[in-house]
Symmetry: none
Subunit: 154 residues, 2 copies
Amino acid sequence: MNKSISDLIEEFIMSSLDDDDFIELSRNDLAKFFACVPSQINYVLNTRFTPSRGFVIESQRGGSGYIKVIKMQNNNNNYLKNALSLTDQPLNNMQANQLLDELNIRDVLTDRESSIIKSAINTKALNNPINIDNTLRSNILKQIIIELMKREEE
Amino acid sequence: MNKSISDLIEEFIMSSLDDDDFIELSRNDLAKFFACVPSQINYVLNTRFTPSRGFVIESQRGGSGYIKVIKMQNNNNNYLKNALSLTDQPLNNMQANQLLDELNIRDVLTDRESSIIKSAINTKALNNPINIDNTLRSNILKQIIIELMKREEE
DNA sequence: TCTTATGAAGGTCAAAGATAGTCAAACATA
DNA sequence: TATGTTTGACTATCTTTGACCTTCATAAGA
């Protein structure tokens, strides 16, 4: 598969996070390193290092500014709670998939379960007027998560 | 017999799949190779590489986009085949639940999986104008069943 | 010491570019 | 004529780029 620059930047940041819970980076330096414009770094952060994937971004502007990418440390049963709160907002397909990947990685969902749910909330399945699409996706996810929480209680 | 361009494209993709379970291709490149318009690739995929023939298509648009043609691993399961054909019609909540119970009884779905899917296609989740509701439910179910057929049985 | 100016970050947003998807009309063939 | 194929205009989605905006540390000046 042909990787885009954004994919490469994502991989770079991801692997920097292998050993640590956070990294600090300089937007300009990273952009220089990948020979792209600085705002592309923001694009990658906004599309790939999202709350639904378990990341938080902190940053500071001005002299000695920085960007900090932080991996959230949830203890196990908070993953569902966190996911539930994310369904209060409309989620696009990518965000929803990220959320499900995260639940899978955290062993809240099996591979099969996360794939099943991804199929259910895919753009292809929810073939509706665009403006209600993302809301519908969140609705469906919310019901699923509530069901999962119910089952965990037992 | 005189082969059409579509037949040739079909053969090309088919033989690429001889050794692998999936291939990734670029619509534009393939169209250039066969000197046809890009949308003819879609025509071939839609008419020849369908779920009922044992294939799934995944794709991504935009920069470094792709089309992935995947051979299903589990498309001979009669319960899944039957379920798939039922999704050609709109299904109300009760009909869908029956279908899922049946798949559960036949060990195609675990308890948890069938509960998850029931939550996803519940009236509460699909909070839409009633007339499109049942169609939406079938659509979602169809995508899920295709996903199940795609995957190796566990 | 306090205030202000300056330069060095990072942020936002919309346009342009790169793919793929849809659909219906035109065409071809059985 | 009915069915399957080819074409292209229009649409949708994801990525890349750049102009313009905001914030902050610190050096310069009062």
